[in-house]
């Protein structure tokens, strides 16, 4: 199968899922208690009759549900989700303001994860049964089971409150200060990710390292460096890439809790405050954005997989 056909096929599937998700997200409005128009105005106190009729017109609330959805979707395509109820800003702007912090946090923790988890997993997989392996296995169990806010408060207590090395709250100003402020949150977020990735890397390495083709490479006196790079890493990468989708989902969920714990003005805290304020347009936008990010990421994973695995590339089992 050509890569173009492959990507096209996945793209169609992704758009279909996005459409269904968007409809469900749109439906959130009708889930909110009471009249959607009142909800959009931010509560009965602000719902004067003329305000209500204004909102009804703006959101086409008197039309049938599908028509409403159609108007809404047209807006969404232009990244227009309406106005935030609490801040009265256009939703796009409200999100744009918060977006960089969450992205910085996610990237930061991702780098920490990759730098720590993959070497640890490889080492544990190679030196199976050693103290290092047992430590990594036990550590990943703890990191996997702990709720994200547990390492967060622990880090705050030790490094911010007790030792005073890092600030307790806030995002910081300027690039250097931002990195400084985001260090503890990024580590807290990375704990679970490291657990997942190192565990999977360990399993994949163990699996690949005992395969006949690795033994056969050693039999042929292929240098150790090539055996590790071209054989073990190359083949162990496939299952690790497969779970990176799970890691992203974990990271997005974790970001909400970490931002809350460190009082970072990111998308996560925006989601929580919007949920508390029943700010439906913002909730809709963040939810749909999440789905878009996850589905795009899965598409990238599929394409990477496709490029790395000749069996798929040459159309076997695709």
């Amino acid at each position: 199968m050509k890569i173009v056909t492959f990507v096209a096929r996945r793209l169609v599937g992704m758009i279909a899922i996005l459409l269904v998700v968007s409809f469900l997200v749109f439906g959130l409005l009708s889930l909110a208690p009471g009249d959607p128009a009142v909800a959009l105005l931010g509560g009965p106190s602000k719902a004067t009759p003329e305000a209500i009729s204004q909102v009804r017109a703006l959101y086409h609330l008197d039309e049938p549900l599908l028509t409403q959805y159609w108007y809404w979707l047209q807006g969404v395509m232009r990244f227009d989700f309406g106005r935030s109820i609490s801040s009265q800003l256009p939703v796009g702007d409200a999100i744009g303001e918060r977006f960089p912090i969450t992205v910085a946090l996610a990237m930061y923790s991702f780098i920490i994860t990759v730098v720590i988890a993959i070497p640890l997993g490889l080492a544990a997989g190679v030196r199976r049964g050693t103290r290092l392996d047992r430590t990594v296995t036990a550590g990943s169990l703890v990191g996997f089971a702990a709720p994200v806010f547990a390492p967060a408060v622990f880090l705050i207590y030790v490094f911010a409150v007790q030792l005073g090395w890092f600030p307790v709250y806030g995002p910081g100003k300027g690039a250097i200060d931002r990195i400084y402020h985001l260090t503890l949150p990024a580590i807290a977020l990375a704990v679970g990710q490291i657990a997942i990735i190192s565990r999977q890397t360990r399993a994949a390495t163990m699996d690949v390292a005992t395969q006949d083709y690795v033994t056969f490479a050693r039999v042929r006196a292929v240098p150790a460096r090539s055996v590790w790079g071209g054989y073990v890493l190359r083949n162990a990468a496939l299952p690790v890439i497969t779970i990176s989708g799970l890691v992203l989902a974990f990271s997005l969920t974790g970001a909400v809790l970490v931002e809350q714990a460190f009082a970072l003005p990111g998308l996560g805290t925006l989601l929580v405050s919007s949920v508390n304020a029943l700010d439906i347009p913002v909730i809709q936008a963040i939810t749909l954005l999440t789905a878009f990010v996850i589905l795009s990421f899965n598409l990238i994973i599929d394409v990477t997989y496709f490029a790395l695995d000749p069996r798929l590339r040459r159309g076997v089992g695709a």
Partner: protein, 617 residues
């Protein structure tokens, strides 16, 4: 001149001090320059471990003791580690499964180039010169299409993969090649080609070859000297001809008789009783004592040594002098008369049966118009290699796969599509046909006891049995397949492979079927166990149950069936009485198949038109 390889008192142990578990004990042998030696043994004998020790591939938790000298240099150090200095340079290893030996994400050429670079041979080669060298190396192993170098492993057949792997091993021009079951994962016709290739290359290069195999016949056909291994140690080491005609150890003789002959019918199929014991249980005694007919007190109180008993003939049997004459008396030669079961009226009638998978360009036809008839009480063999459609045929008859076309009649009942059958008819069909599958480890539900499995099958035949009657029936069934009644309470995990296969036969017989479909029922079992199961199936047939016996093994089909059809790529290419067909195959493919099995005397059937590259597809 010193021999190329000298192994002396080699032992391999597992584990740390205090908890040492021996796996190989006191193995000594030599391999001369340019010599081909066979190392034969069943699973668990320690033959593969010995091979791995030679190339320094023992797992870290294993220790080697004793001496391995290659060209005069000692390879074993005082810590029990084997030096890897000569591995991949002077000693090469060819492994069993060509489908897993090559890196799935790299091309065949990549492997070859990589190995050429490592050895001095290809160090300075670049571009076209390297490509030419790769093509030359591929040609040496019988691949004359250089484009194969651009193929990924999953795009090549087993035979091709094994050739590529061989070319990789040969890239460093080794002086000793260790081949560990190099043809076990291959089809019979490919097997002969690979062995022929190995022999030719060994002669051309003057290389030494250690062939490790479970198949005595293969060793006879390829090697000048044979080492027989049992329970972690050598029990015999003799020239191949002598092992065959005058075995010097009771185990060798047992093994010779257990192998179903391809070229004659054996009146008795004698397996070796019991199974291979763990090495640790037989340290101070003869490992074979518990299964030996000639066992005496001395055999269980001290360890026999491998001692010379004749010119170049070594045996580890303490009673060799007493039993020599009996050992050399070959039980049967020539064909004995076959008990022929008269075939009754047609029980299974298959016409124009076809089955295809996939659709469009991916459409692949497993069966293409098969006509077949099985009379009641008959034993019919279906012979074919992988991809011949023989298993699909069995699944269609059993209603586990729905055919794409054609008709299957069971005793007058049309069962072409089981899903369309009325419940009563489906039940009737089930009572006519039952099955025994290949893999005894997955064909029994691991969660249920033997008794549960049998009771379930019984309840299908006669629903209203009382508890006591069920118990009695189970006892009778177990007795019929040669298992004690106490086995009813066991789970499959507590049974050996042969015992599980007996349970599988008992489950099938519980329904009291008229036909037993056997799909490679002994292929997963050790040779000494195979004969027992074959004898059981022969007995079942003599008691009136017809057999539809599916196998790739011509020896097995010779012993169990009286009529045979040969399946090739979904069609029957030849059909006839077993003895006649195997003695004088008419079809080109059948001839090739028959020629690919070495005969009991270690010679190959003369091949018709064997071309070394005929498995290129």
């Amino acid at each position: 001149m010193t021999p190329l390889l000298e192994v002396n008192g080699l032992s391999i142990d597992h584990g740390e001090r205090g908890q040492i578990r021996p796996l190989v004990t006191d193995v000594s042998f030599t391999i001369g320059r340019g010599e081909t030696v066979g190392l034969v043994g069943e699973s668990g004998s320690g033959k593969s471990l010995t091979a791995r020790a030679l190339v320094s591939l023992l797992q870290p938790e294993l220790r080697a003791n004793g001496s391995i000298k290659f060209d005069g240099d000692e390879l074993v150090d005082s810590d029990g580690r084997v030096s890897s200095q000569v591995r991949g340079r002077d000693i090469g290893l060819l492994m069993q499964d060509p489908f897993t030996m090559l890196n799935p994400v790299r091309t065949a050429g990549h492997h070859l180039v990589e190995t050429l670079r490592v050895s001095k041979v290809g160090a300075g080669l670049r571009g076209d010169a390297m490509r030419a060298e790769v093509a030359r190396r591929l040609a040496e192993v019988g691949i004359d299409r250089p484009s194969v170098a651009n193929s990924y492993p999953f795009e090549l057949s087993g035979g091709m993969l094994q050739r590529v792997a061989l070319a990789c091993v040969l890239a460093s021009n080794p002086r000793l090649l260790v081949a560990d079951e190099p043809t076990t994962a291959l089809d019979a016709t490919t097997q002969r080609e690979i062995l022929g290739l190995l022999g030719r290359i060994q002669r051309d290069r003057g290389m030494s070859l250690l062939l490790i195999t479970h198949d005595l016949r293969l060793a006879f056909a390829s090697c000048t000297r044979v080492l027989v291994m049992y329970a972690g140690t050598l029990v015999e080491a003799s020239p191949a001809d002598l092992v065959r005609t005058a075995p010097a150890h009771p185990y060798t003789r047992g093994l010779l008789e257990a192998v179903p002959a391809t070229d004659r019918y054996q009146q008795t199929l004698e397996g070796i009783p019991g199974r291979v014991p763990p090495v640790s249980e037989v340290l101070g005694q003869c490992g074979f004592a518990s299964r030996c007919t000639y066992v005496a007190d001395a055999c269980t109180t001290s360890r026999p040594e491998l001692l010379p008993v004749g010119p170049d003939q070594w045996s580890a049997c303490m009673r060799y002098d007493d039993v020599r004459d009996e050992l050399q008396q070959t039980a049967e030669t020539g064909s004995s008369e076959r008990r022929v079961v008269e075939a009754g009226p047609a029980l299974i009638a298959i016409s124009e049966l076809s089955k295809s998978y996939g659709s469009g360009a991916d459409k692949h036809s497993a069966l293409a118009g098969v006509d077949l008839m099985l009379g009641s009480g008959e034993a019919l063999g279906v012979v074919g290699e992988s991809g011949s459609g023989k298993t699909t045929l069995a699944r269609c008859v059993l209603g586990l796969t729905t055919p794409s076309g054609g008709r299957i009649m069971l005793d007058g009942l049309d069962v072409s599509d089981y899903r369309r059958l009325k419940n009563a008819d489906a039940a009737r069909a089930r009572r006519i046909v039952q099955c025994v599958f290949q893999d005894p480890y997955s064909s029994l539900n691991p969660m249920h006891s033997v008794g549960y499995t049998l009771a379930e099958a019984l309840s299908f035949r006669v629903p209203q049995l009382s508890r006591a009657e069920v118990q009695r029936e189970i006892r009778a069934l177990l007795d019929r397949v040669g298992l004690p009644a106490t086995y009813a309470s066991r789970r499959p995990a507590a049974l050996s492979g042969g015992q599980r296969q007996r349970v599988a036969v008992a489950r099938a017989l519980a329904v009291n079927p008229q036909v037993l479909v056997c799909d490679e029922p002994v292929a997963a079992l050790d040779v000494s166990i195979q004969a027992q199961i074959l004898a059981l199936l022969r007995e079942v047939n003599e008691q009136g149950t017809a057999l539809l016996f599916i196998t790739h093994d011509l020896g097995v089909v010779r012993q169990v069936t009286s009529r045979v059809v040969v399946l090739y790529r979904g069609s029957i290419v030849e059909e006839g009485a077993t003895d006649e067909l195997l003695n004088a195959p008419a079809n080109e493919y059948t001839r090739r198949l028959v020629a690919s099995m070495p005969r009991s005397d270690g010679t190959w059937q003369p091949a018709g038109s064997q071309s070394s590259g005929s498995d290129l597809t």
